[in-house]
């Protein structure tokens, strides 16, 4: 009965009783322990172990070698640019959508398409861009005829600029999804109040709307950053040789066993990824708390 939980007395007998229902959580906790906690712990511990299982900082110190540092810098750059571009363009698209009535076709189509592109696998998106700008692609021939680019495909598609472009393709939709609720929380009454007090449109935006939206905007941008930093499928499908970014270096060290003269170097690289994502996500959680004060 719910009464037992609602009126649990502080007496020891009552405490022993309340242990009973908690047992129901054991299967769930055990499952997550095996398939989420153990793999993560394996990475955390493995990063600090040598080949014999003893404690060692070798792998961690190898992270500051030239290749891993370069790759980390490229990854941060890719995440930063694609998050910035995605956040700005996504916010604009979200605004265009939010100014349409909630039941309009435009709004339904945009949110549905954004849901698919932001959440569905990166492999298909990579192929869509190969079909556009790769060998024999739709725009390849068009661009070759008009501005004289390489008719065999735009080679930058498989390098950092191409990754930025393809990442933007799922970053903008993700921004629309996470930023739309904040824009919807912007009440028309606030605008009316500002206008009643004699504010111009410009003043309303710069002194009321932007300050209110800033935490939500920054928070969503951080989410986009983490999303790009941890993304693997798109880059893996696009770049089959070399490891220009961190996720692909992890792939390299998983498939070729010894990278940079170090066994299991993937553990250290994965730890690096977890640390970056964890920092970004905790900033996001902190900003989210500040946002919910006004726009909920």
């Amino acid at each position: 009965m719910a009464a037992t939980t609602a009126t649990t007395p502080p007496a020891p007998a009552g405490r022993r009783l309340s242990v009973g229902p908690s047992v129901g959580l054991l299967p769930f906790l055990a499952y997550l322990a095996v398939f989420l906690v153990v793999p993560t712990a394996t990475v955390l511990v493995g990063a600090f172990q040598d080949d014999n299982g003893g404690f060692s900082l070798d792998k961690i110190s190898k992270l500051t070698d030239e290749t891993p540092l370069h790759v980390l810098r490229e990854s941060l750059l890719l995440s930063f640019i694609s998050a910035a571009v995605g956040a700005v363009l996504g916010a604009i698209l979200a605004y265009l959508v939010v100014t349409a009535p909630p039941t309009s076709v435009l709004r339904r189509v945009v949110t549905a398409v954004c849901g698919v592109l932001a959440q569905f696998g990166g492999v298909t998106l990579a192929f869509a861009w190969i079909a556009t700008l790769g060998f024999g692609g739709l725009l390849t021939t068009l661009l070759a005829d008009t501005i004289g680019t390489d008719p065999n495909g735009i080679s930058q598609l498989y390098e950092l600029p191409g990754l930025v472009l393809v990442y933007t393709y799922f970053q903008i939709p993700l921004m629309v999804i996470v930023f739309l609720p904040a824009l919807e929380g912007l009440r028309p009454q606030w605008r009316e109040a500002a206008v009643n007090l004699g504010a111009t449109t410009w003043q309303y935006w710069t002194q009321v709307a932007f300050p209110l939206l800033r935490p939500a905007f920054l928070g969503s941008s951080l989410l986009l950053f983490a999303n790009a930093f941890a993304a693997y499928a798109t880059a893996a499908a696009l770049v089959s040789q070399g490891s220009p970014i961190l996720p692909l270096l992890i792939r390299n060290s998983l498939t070729s066993e010894i990278v940079l003269g170090e066994h299991n170097f993937a553990y250290a690289l994965a730890l690096e990824m977890v640390v970056v994502v964890a920092i970004v996500m905790s900033l996001y959680a902190w900003l989210l708390k500040r946002t919910s004060r006004w726009l909920s």
Binding site: P27, P39, T99, I130, A131, G137, Y232
Partner: protein, 263 residues
């Protein structure tokens, strides 16, 4: 605002929407164009689409991915739904813990999980055999954040405690309360969770490719190197399938919002 300003804004608005529309539509049209063209003769052909049902590698991969999706949905429902109902009814003190654990996979990238998965899967393969279908175990974890949100919003709109007390006072066991009283009221949330789980599993590449199991996205990448049109067709087909699922999900959502009088 003046009339001229409003008109200019309307034009700008449609112009911007047009640009966004083109940006998102062109790659998808390119996919369609590429998959219906013979790369050598440049003639239109449906061969690539036909191969989706005839090429054994492709059909095997599609079957594997669909089976995986089904297993993941079953696993997710069995693991998550009773736990969430139980937490709501009997252990409300654990709400934050369960929420934290369910949302944790958003912070731990799939790539990190796969790096640390070797030992766990050595045991899984030892206990249940070496099959691509064992991926369902870890996929259940990947879909948890999305499933949790869908089920939680549906559970919140329900007075579960009263329902449970009514059923209990009529002599129902806890098993009956969960499966026959609460669960039927949660179907829209559970269905939503199932749809998004299917979409995620069909597109999952990180874990399956790095554990060398041939799921649909893995085979799409493999075939792309020999028969590009066929993999383009498979990519577009799976994208459309996911789009239909997620579209159905948004319709479900709207019906729920309507029946509860908005948010």
């Amino acid at each position: 605002m003046t009339g001229g300003g409003a008109a200019a804004w309307r034009v700008l608005r449609w112009l911007l929407l047009l640009v966004f529309g083109a940006f998102f539509a062109i790659p998808l049209l390119a996919l369609l164009n590429f998959s219906t063209k013979n790369p050598a003769t440049k003639e239109r052909t449906g061969a690539a689409w036909q191969a989706l049902t005839e090429d054994p590698t492709m059909t095997d991969a599609i079957t594997t991915s669909l089976l995986l999706a089904a297993l993941t949905v079953v696993g997710m429902i069995v693991l998550l739904v009773p736990t969430m109902i139980w937490v709501r009814l009997r252990v409300p003190g654990a709400t934050r813990l369960v929420e934290f654990l369910c949302l944790l996979p958003l912070t731990i990238p799939a790539l990190v999980i796969v790096v640390g998965l070797k030992n766990v899967y050595a045991w899984v393969n030892y206990l249940v055999g070496d099959s691509a279908l064992t991926l369902a175990f870890v996929y259940v974890v990947l879909v948890l954040p999305y499933a949790y949100r869908a089920i939680d919003s549906s559970l919140s709109s329900l007075d579960a405690t009263t329902l449970a007390e009514a059923a209990r006072s009529l002599g129902a066991s806890w098993f009956t309360v969960i499966t026959r009283v609460i669960l039927p009221n949660l179907w829209s949330g559970v269905l939503g969770a199932a749809f998004i789980a299917v979409a995620l599993v069909l597109g999952e590449y990180t874990i399956s490719s790095l554990t060398h199991y041939n799921t649909l996205p893995v085979v799409i990448v493999q075939i792309g190197k020999v028969n590009a049109p066929e993999s383009m067709a498979a990519a577009l087909a799976s994208l459309l399938f996911a789009a239909i699922l997620l579209m159905a999900l948004s319709l479900l959502d709207r019906r729920r919002h309507l029946s509860h009088g908005g948010r």
